[in-house]
């Protein structure tokens, strides 16, 4: 399903950003009766998606990107992440609406298939997604999308530079960093240090409320989104045995050496 790379005319770069609405990272999530308790918890834009949005908006400010489109695949209420995206400077927003009942089991693979379908329609030069959603922690959607559309991928991106129809990506890897150069269209996965996202100002937020959002139900896309994983059980992790406070460094040393025997 790969698209022939059509040379981008000078200054005609289209960027699509994937944005996810997630349980806010500061929420201490609980599990009860084999269910993750997400009713009435604070929801936010996934932190890595904020970084992805910021990078796209900066590309636009540098006049490298001429159009930035934000996409979310989520429940009806997820349209707030698109309002934020437009307040930050995205030109358009697409909301692929998922019924509430399906949302809990919507997998990264399904989301990647939806985005791959949109890739055929939108034909962007660059996808920027967050590297990982802080709810599922799969960290796979960008790579799945890249695999489905057979585009090169720049994961754990801490810096990107677009020039001459390619994108140079500095990636954070386990031993340090790596620089790769990708042909466009490419998929970039934003990591923590790619940028520091800005806050939208109140005026932009108010204006964004009035902008139209292209809303489409997920079942109209002709994409198979049924889950491949069945959740057998969810539970909280076993709690650690309570520890003790020591009063001095000498006591700490003694405990570590003679009680725990790890020093």
């Amino acid at each position: 399903m790969s698209l022939m790379y059509r040379p981008t005319a000078a200054q005609q770069m289209k960027v699509v950003v994937g944005v996810k609405r997630v349980v806010d990272y500061s929420v201490k999530i609980r599990v009860k009766d084999n269910k993750v308790q997400t009713d009435n918890v604070k929801m936010s834009v996934n932190p890595f998606c904020e970084i992805a949005l910021e990078e796209a908006v900066r590309l636009k400010e540098k006049k490298i990107a001429t159009e930035v489109i934000a996409v979310t695949v989520g429940v009806k209420k997820a349209d707030d992440v698109l309002r934020t995206a437009m307040a930050l400077g995205c030109d358009k927003a697409i909301h692929i609406v998922v019924p509430d009942a399906e949302a809990a089991t919507l997998e990264p693979l399904a989301v990647a298939k939806v985005l791959a379908k949109l890739h055929e329609e939108l034909k962007p030069d660059l996808w920027i997604l967050g590297k990982q959603a802080v709810d599922g922690d799969f960290g796979s959607t960008p790579q799945l999308l890249a695999g489905l559309i057979d585009a090169p991928q720049g994961t754990f991106a801490s810096e990107i530079a677009v020039a001459d129809g390619k994108v140079k990506v500095t990636r954070e890897i386990d031993a340090g960093r790596q620089v790769v150069e990708l042909n466009l269209p490419a998929v970039v996965a934003a990591d923590l240090r790619l940028n520091q996202p800005r806050f939208p100002n109140l005026q932009s937020i108010m204006k964004a409320r009035k902008k139209p959002v292209d809303t489409r139900p997920i079942d109209k896309l002709g994409v198979d989104t049924k889950p491949h994983l069945a959740t057998v059980k969810v539970e909280e992790p076993a709690a650690r045995k309570a520890g003790i406070k020591v009063k001095t460094v000498e006591e700490l040393f003694d405990k570590l050496r003679n009680e725990a025997k790890v020093l």
Binding site: V31, V134, A146, P152, V180, E181, V234, K241
Partner: protein
């Protein structure tokens, strides 16, 4: 365990400076739970990796891809080779130790098989049932996969490492399909050479957070780490602030570690950091704030100033 026919597992091996990473040995243990294990070596150290893999207990066969296209580990080049290996060898499960490398490759290959990758598994309960964590480690989920070919990354600290000797598997080269696709190009690796212990596998880790106040002050932790032969880790906050390089980050979106002893100084204990180290056997915390959340997971907590406590502890350790 099911009485169905055993699966056939492929483990994508990883090396660091020519040596198999210990986490790959853990991935082999995980893989062996579903069926006979074929190990796959690729990249510029492929031949060295293959030699080591052939001696690992539990590896039945070693396959090597040592062509130029895959020598830099580019996922665009590696994915089609792995796909071909899976199809040619009737592989039912593809595993790799969780790492930046495997996270880059495994999902891309999974997409080619219409499979949902299961990331960072901590237990194997059957050929189709695996345990993993979500919500920064606050949810433990047991999932069952319906995929014909299953893909998973394996948390290296959750499984015993397979013995490095005792095996004698044959090594064979795989068909690599010629020239690189050219969609991506490796330019350079920026790796700080270090003779210090590897953070992912050190038995002792000394970690620092915002309480250190500057990158310069990490010298205090290095002074403690040296006699302990410990690795030094960091929180996301200090990496973001530029005190430390990114490869030192421990946490939900950094490295997951499980040393025998973890000493945290000047770290408040955000959920996201704890997610990356809570399986440590013994946790010692030093912080001036008695209410720091980190004390809740500490086996031993010292409310005190790290600028006094760490040098004092270093002195005691040195005897």
């Amino acid at each position: 365990m099911s009485t169905r026919a055993l699966g056939k597992a492929l483990v994508i091996a990883e090396t660091l400076e020519g040596k198999l990473v210990p986490a790959t040995l853990a991935a082999i243990t995980a893989a062996a739970k579903v069926g006979p294990v074929t190990a796959f070596a690729s990249g510029k150290d492929a031949a060295a990796a293959a030699e080591q893999l052939s001696k690992v207990a539990g590896v039945q066969q070693v396959l090597v891809a040592s062509g130029a296209a895959v020598s830099s580990g580019l996922p665009e080049e590696l994915a089609p080779v792995v796909k071909s290996v899976v199809e040619t060898n009737g592989i039912t499960h593809v595993f790799a130790a969780t790492s930046a490398f495997s996270k880059n490759v495994i999902p891309r290959v999974a997409a080619k098989f219409d499979a949902m990758p299961i990331c960072d598994i901590t237990a194997v309960q059957g050929e189709d049932t695996f345990v993993r964590h979500a919500y920064a480690g606050n949810v433990v989920a047991t999932v069952k996969s319906a995929d014909a070919v299953k893909f998973a990354t394996v948390r290296g600290t959750s499984f015993e490492r397979a013995a490095a000797t005792g095996g004698s598997a044959p090594i064979a080269a795989v068909a690599e399909g010629g020239a690189a696709s050219g969609k991506s190009k490796w330019l350079e690796d920026l790796i700080a050479k270090s003779d210090k212990p590897d953070l992912a596998t050190a038995a002792t880790v000394v970690a620092g957070g915002r309480g250190l106040k500057s990158g310069e002050n990490f010298k205090l932790l290095e002074a403690l780490a040296a006699p302990l032969k410990a690795a030094v880790g960091a929180t996301r906050a200090v990496v973001d602030a530029g005190y430390c390089p990114n490869d030192m980050q421990v946490g939900q979106t950094g490295k997951t570690i499980a040393p025998t002893l973890y000493i945290g100084a000047g770290i408040s204990g955000a959920i996201q950091h704890i997610a990356g180290m809570k399986e440590s056997k013994v946790i010692a915390v030093i912080n001036t704030d008695a209410d720091a959340p980190f004390f809740q997971v500490a086996d031993y907590g010292l409310v005190g100033d790290l600028f006094e406590a760490v040098p004092a502890l270093t002195k005691l350790v040195k005897g």
